[in-house]
């Protein structure tokens, strides 16, 4: 499935590719398989995301390593202003994303809420 995602992304099927891949991300995060991602599952997944996109494995994320991040958002998340995000800073920013994505405020993210968050 993952290779299929890469193939789709490589040939730029755009929305279709990101939808298929987002589905894989959702299933991976939804550890108790209740079709909702609670905050604990979300932060567990984001810890993995931090590790996996930290390409030089130096324990911090640069703006280059985080693809498609808005510069202003990156700097807002960089609380100590050292130019990189620690895991704590990254998870805190993602915590805010969870709040913003959880539109019905029930403490869990549905597929629709995940895909609808921009």
């Amino acid at each position: 499935m993952r290779r299929f995602c890469y193939a789709l992304l490589l040939v730029s099927f755009g929305a279709a590719a990101s939808s298929v891949c987002a589905q894989e991300g959702f299933e991976n995060a939804d550890q108790n398989h209740n079709n909702k991602i609670n905050r604990e599952e979300f932060l567990e997944r984001e810890t993995d995301v931090f590790f996996l996109i930290d390409s030089n494995k130096d324990g911090h994320l640069s703006i280059v390593e985080i693809k498609n991040v808005d510069v202003a958002r990156f700097h807002a998340a960089d609380v100590n202003g050292d130019g990189v995000l620690s895991m704590e800073e990254f998870l805190e920013a993602r915590n805010l994303d969870f709040d913003a994505a959880d539109t019905n405020k029930d403490g869990g993210l549905t597929r629709q809420e995940v895909e609808g968050f921009h």
Binding site: R2, R3, C5, Y6, L9, S18, C21, A22, Q23, E24, G25, F26, N28, A29, Q31, I37, F42, E44, R45, E46, T47, D48, V49, F51, L52, I53, K57, G59, I66, K67, N68, V69, D70, A72, R73, F74, A76, A77, M87, F90, A93, R94, N95, L96, D97, D99, A100, A101, L109, V114, F117, H118
Partner: protein
């Protein structure tokens, strides 16, 4: 006439109050709290989407000679031959380096018939900042799967070394 004038003044004052309230609301949104709320988080597009879709996988990323022992041990380790251990170790290194938690990476030695999977289950940073991952390992010998659990930490040379399990 006096009533008309009074009505106009009343309307003007009312309109002024509404405008003042709108300006006050706008100022509140422009304050630190409002701005922080508006910009909070990294946004849905960052890091491959909200859940980091399509992360992990790819090549093994294992440098030759970087493998460390310790991922296989106990009674199971005694049954496996050298090729089994090599398959299992390479798979463990690959899974720990590239696979998201919950995703199994498998190996099979066609000569011995033995097979196995390695599944990272939890990722964290140790106090010195290095990455550690808990994992589940399943090795199937003669059709019987045997499961074990452990924790491995990433070494400065990019290899993974078991610290427990």
């Amino acid at each position: 006439m006096a009533f008309a004038m009074w009505w106009r003044v009343r309307s003007a004052v009312g309109l002024l109050l509404v405008i003042m309230m709108l300006v006050a609301c706008q100022n509140t949104q422009d304050s630190g709290v409002g701005t922080k709320t508006a910009i909070g988080g990294l946004g849905g597009a960052a890091a491959g989407g909200l859940l980091g879709a399509a992360l992990g996988g790819g090549g093994t990323g294992i440098a030759a000679g970087a493998l460390l022992g310790g991922l296989i041990g106990g009674a199971v380790g005694n049954v496996l031959d050298e090729n089994d251990k090599r398959y299992a170790n390479e798979t463990a290194q690959k899974a720990l380096e590239k696979a998201p938690s919950g995703t199994a990476t498998s190996w099979k030695n066609p000569d011995s018939g033995h097979s196995g999977t390695v599944t990272p289950t939890h990722t964290y940073q140790s106090s010195n900042g290095s990455y550690c991952r808990e994992y589940q390992q399943e090795i199937t010998i003669d059709g019987k799967p045997q499961r074990s659990y452990g924790t491995a930490c990433r070494q400065p040379d990019g290899s993974w070394k078991t610290i427990s399990g």
